[in-house]
Symmetry: C2
Subunit: 264 residues, 2 copies
């Protein structure tokens, strides 16, 4: 059976979703919840902690627990990679219609505000190992932020690096003003003769740093997922290393692993 | 360039790994670190927070920041599913040799301590939806905990459910004393005529609950990943729904997505 705090969280979650309190409204005081649920204050606080971690409520200084305006949820599937690969060789017109973020969020191009910042960096120990190149090798780092027009914080922050020499083979790839690039990174790589063979994603979780809390609009009690995406080309070379930070209260990463059939 | 707190964290991490302080030893006091690094106390604390989230140090009441004994790290790859499928039809002797946890941790069967608890439950809203069955349908819930013999906390806690009627077709599948079952769930399903076609994993992150902190041996500042694994058989039916809670300080989830070749 569910624990007491889970039952309280389930009950409050259901009532928030049903609209009993609107965004910006306060939940009953903790002491009132203790009375209503006939449970201890620590149990009630644990239930509220669950709803805070889910981003449903926010503890505001001097106001108590306030219902948050739901942020646009994101489901990021690994099927996006094959989909992007399919689009990499389509016409500009086809590529311009929609991108992976639209796919993940169900929003359209006009709902999204996009930013890209490019800079040249040198590979540190970690990136040198990831690309299998000497420390100090020149890389092009591209930092991407995409947000919903009606929200302040981006869905995530992505730091994507290409080998500088690879990108420089097509000078347009060095120019941040060409972003958002129709067809994304797989099309960019295609313009310099690279075909991606597989994508490896490594995921872990931790509390956000102070900067991430600010940048991603996180409330207390929200964790982040940190995803390192490594793209490997058909010659077995690492061609892109991206680190993506995704808020735990609004993001689900979904990975489908097809298995070969026994009768095959 | 890296931020000040990142440079401090990098420096301390390197020195901990190099053995400058042994597990159980204290780092220099925060005021001393402020002097050494010539940075503010908030910056030093932010750096220490990074190392806490990584599980490298632990803040002990009255003792300060103490180096932790490194816990066995786990890399859980999605390749485990195809590997388990391959083993599902092998002989008992072959299946007995090693399991998925050994693969993820690099440990051998004799290094691991395993526990399984079975109980019959009724599908709540969430599980009814996940299995596409009516609320109240009988399920077999199996809770698995595997730990390294030299550690107290398990690597993760996994709650796996099968449809009760499916499991009951082989009464041995209802018996927790038969666990650890050589060949795991895919072999168990094979004994009742089920072949898994694909596995869908949905991952998110949040701070741990109080129970999870205790059960998984977490220190302050560690987040957990919550993974829902759904196994779908060759007829498109959901045959297993498992919820796995994994500590962010010791677990990497790795997913490889192969892409079809353009010349194929």
């Amino acid at each position: 059976m569910a624990k007491a705090y889970e039952r309280i969280a389930d009950d409050l979650r259901r009532r928030i979703r049903a609209g009993e309190w609107s965004p910006g409204e306060r939940l009953p005081a903790e002491t009132k919840l203790v009375e209503d649920f006939r449970k201890s204050l620590p149990t009630v606080r644990q239930a509220l902690g669950v709803l805070q971690a889910e981003g449903l409520i926010e503890k505001q200084h001097g106001r108590g627990n306030v219902v948050r305006k739901a942020r646009r949820p994101v489901t990021r599937t690994n099927e996006r990679h094959q989909w992007e690969k399919g689009r990499a060789r389509q016409t500009l017109e086809e590529r311009q219609q929609t991108g992976a973020t639209e796919r993940d969020t169900g929003l359209s191009v006009s709902d999204l505000v996009f930013s890209a910042e490019f800079k040249e960096i040198e590979a540190d120990d970690d990136l040198a190992q990831a690309f299998d190149v000497p420390v100090g090798t020149r890389l092009l780092e591209r930092v991407y932020r995409t947000r919903y027009r009606e929200e302040e914080a981006p869905f995530n922050v992505s730091r994507s690096r290409l080998l500088y020499e690879t990108a420089a083979a097509n000078p347009e790839l060095l120019d941040e003003s060409k972003e958002p690039w129709p067809g994304g990174t797989q099309n960019q790589l295609h313009t310099v003769g690279i075909e991606v063979d597989r994508v490896i994603e490594r995921v872990t979780a931790r509390p956000p740093t102070i900067e991430e809390t600010e940048e991603l609009g996180l409330t207390a009690g929200v964790a982040v997922m940190v995803l390192r995406k490594t793209s490997i080309d058909t010659d077995g070379r690492v061609v892109e290393v991206a680190d993506v930070t995704l808020p735990g209260d609004r993001t689900v990463l979904e990975f489908t692993t097809p298995l070969t059939r026994w009768d095959a």
